[in-house]
């Protein structure tokens, strides 16, 4: 399947390149923009970015495998990222993660990304989200949520549906 980037997005990317004296610097921002549009980074996407930035595909692929935010597979339509690190753990993050997993029939013991069969939600533990004073915190897609009680978690889910 051919990898086609819409003209508007390509124009946005071309503008990003001008932010840097060296093209390669734009690769992280390219990956963000491509992932935002396509949901994940495919091999074709990495090759496309590489050719745009005069790089070898491995220079882009090594970023996809290094930076935790980049995904090689499509996630659920709504992505729930629950902070796992100490302050949130003290504040009930594990119970929150388990709550989501049980709700969606996922494995509460798995820390990595899990997606529901219907593809509507993915749930994962992430490391510190810098919201430790209002633990537990999580992200629902690009939105940051604080003091997430189990009832607040249910509200979040119903808003997504």
């Amino acid at each position: 399947m051919a990898f086609i980037v819409p003209a508007e997005l390509e124009a946005e990317l071309n503008e990003l390149v001008t932010h840097y004296p060296q093209k390669r610097s734009a690769s992280l921002m390219f990956l963000h923009a491509i992932q935002e549009h396509f949901g994940f980074i495919s091999k074709e996407a990495a090759e496309w970015i590489a050719s745009k930035l005069d790089l070898q595909p491995i220079h882009v692929w090594e970023l996809v495998t290094f930076y935790p935010m980049f995904r090689q597979h499509p996630p659920g339509r709504h992505q729930l990222k629950i902070c796992r690190t100490l302050s949130c753990a003290l504040g009930g993050a594990y119970a929150l993660h388990e709550h989501f997993c049980r709700k969606f029939g996922l494995d509460p013991k798995a820390h990595g990304i899990q997606t529901t069969k219907d593809g509507s939600f993915s749930v994962e533990f992430v490391e510190c989200l810098a919201g430790c004073g209002t633990a537990p915190v999580m992200m629902c897609n690009d939105e940051f949520h604080e003091n997430v009680s189990l009832s607040k978690a249910d509200e979040l889910i119903s808003k997504c549906q």
Partner: protein
């Protein structure tokens, strides 16, 4: 009475205060930048002239401002190391990769008062002849990135940024660059690699001191969000007035992040060293004490990388006596002034100013397992001791928290940690070793009794697999 002193966060939480430029201008925004750009060269008694840029750098040095990101190094000194004769461009990068567990202060500045950061950055860039600067914000703060991009656009429209700023002849561009979830990007040379579009493998020093060989092998300054915001205030009030805040060698204000088992977690801006650890945790103006019926057990004083304190610990601190002589004084953990030097003397550090409080309901082995899992996940993988060691520690702790501990695990953990620290390119080695070293040493009985109980239950000293395990050929089989 111990209380907050809000300088950087003065307006942030006022009702009706918004992150747009109109609001910032109504509150005296960009006046410090005007002041900086209007500085006339000063004639010195020896006939030399001090440029406006040199005057600002001198002010920052005299203010005593120390980096708010973690290392607490003098900002003025850091700037003084910049190679200004190389003929190469000088870059400035704002480190907004706030990700040290426990820390959530930069988020407040970025979300509530982004123009304050932009103003501090423009002044700092002007003072260092920087024409192109970046804000490296962590990927998990997409809203912060949007707010900063909007702020930059607004500032450019008003000519506080862009070509010929306010007619001064000085031009500057700032761009926002997003990280993508890797903690190591907070390490300045890792951040630079990441900004160059590579894996964030920290660089070895020497020769890659950012002040000489930084971004694109050019001289580069990397400063924390809060540090750059403080520069604005140093210019506004003068270094003398700024240095009156706080305590000697620990000047100014600092935003502390308090989390964990306190009644009132949150961020508090204080004069550095004017408030003690005990006040931060127990005073009603700050943490408000432990939850009802709970007692203090442990404190992580400066982000999860710092060495843990145990409730009841005392330290020998060097203090000036009434006779003016330095003498060692016993200071209890709760009486420890929260500043750079006192925490260092007490064997830990104030790091990023993040205090995580644990009460007596905390399973200390679980807590360390949690922290170690973080470091195992975040090691960049470049240096073997850290890549392997962080994972071994996390695996051993995982085993201990899943019913397969051994009495010898405590010493095993210490052994691994001791073989990581000091043997890596960057400070991540220490960051993953210090929590293990301090937790295990200070709470050894809990680790040993946990392991002993598991052994008694399983009736053998063998590991979870049923086989004697050695993590590496160099380690004894235990």
């Amino acid at each position: 009475m111990p209380q907050e002193y809000r300088l950087i966060l003065k307006h942030a939480d006022e009702p009706g205060y918004t992150p747009d430029i109109e609001c910032y201008l109504r509150h005296g925004g960009y006046e410090s930048l005007r002041k900086a750009l209007a500085l006339a060269p000063r004639e010195l008694p020896d006939g030399k002239r001090m440029s406006a840029q040199e005057q600002i750098r001198d002010e920052v040095l005299k203010s005593g401002l120390r980096g708010r990101g973690g290392a607490g190094f003098s900002c003025g000194l850091k700037w003084s190391f910049v190679d200004r004769r190389s003929g190469k461009p000088i870059y400035l990068i704002c480190n907004a990769d706030e990700s040290e567990p426990g820390t959530f202060k930069d988020r407040q500045i970025i979300h509530k008062d982004p123009h304050q950061l932009i103003e501090g950055m423009v002044i700092s860039c002007f003072a260092n002849d920087v024409k192109l600067a970046y804000i490296y914000i962590r990927g998990e703060m997409p809203e912060g990135a949007k707010l900063l991009n909007k702020a930059i656009k607004e500032a450019r429209a008003r000519n506080f940024l862009g070509p010929n700023i306010l007619g001064s002849g000085y031009s500057l561009e700032i761009h926002v660059h997003r990280g993508a979830g890797a903690y190591i990007c907070g390490e300045e040379t890792g951040l630079i690699e990441s900004l160059e579009g590579k894996r964030a493998y920290p660089r070895i020093k020497p020769p890659y001191f950012p002040a000489v060989l930084g971004l694109y092998q050019c001289p580069t300054i990397v400063n924390n969000v809060e540090t750059l915001a403080a520069v604005k205030h140093i210019v506004a009030m003068g270094s003398g007035e700024y240095a009156k805040l706080g305590t000697p060698n620990n000047t100014g204000t600092r935003i502390l992040s308090l989390s964990g088992h306190v009644k009132r977690p949150g961020y508090f801006e204080v004069e550095v060293g004017k408030v003690t650890m005990g006040e931060l945790i127990f005073h009603e103006n700050f943490g408000g004490g432990m939850r009802d019926g709970r007692k203090l057990k442990a404190i992580i004083p400066g982000g999860s990388s710092s060495k843990v304190f145990k409730a009841g610990e005392t330290f020998k601190l060097k203090r000036k006596g009434p006779d003016g002589q330095m003498a060692a004084v016993d200071v209890g953990i709760l009486d420890l002034p929260y500043d750079f030097d006192s925490l260092q003397q007490a064997g830990s550090m104030s790091g990023s100013g993040a205090i995580i409080v644990m009460d007596d309901s905390t399973d200390i082995v679980e807590a360390l397992a949690n922290v170690s899992e973080f470091y195992a996940h975040e090691s960049c993988g470049q240096c073997t001791p850290c890549r392997e060691g962080a994972l071994w520690m996390s695996k051993a702790l995982h085993r201990m928290t899943h019913g397969h501990g051994r009495k010898a695990d405590a010493d095993y953990l210490l052994h691994i940690a001791q073989n990581i620290q000091g043997r890596t390119i960057c400070a991540f080695g220490e960051a993953c070793a210090w929590p293990v070293l301090s937790f295990v040493k200070k709470f050894k009985d809990e680790f040993e009794s946990r392991g002993a109980a598991d052994e008694a239950r399983h009736g053998s000293i063998q590991g979870a697999t049923g086989h004697p395990t050695a993590a590496s050929p160099g380690l004894p089989v235990i």
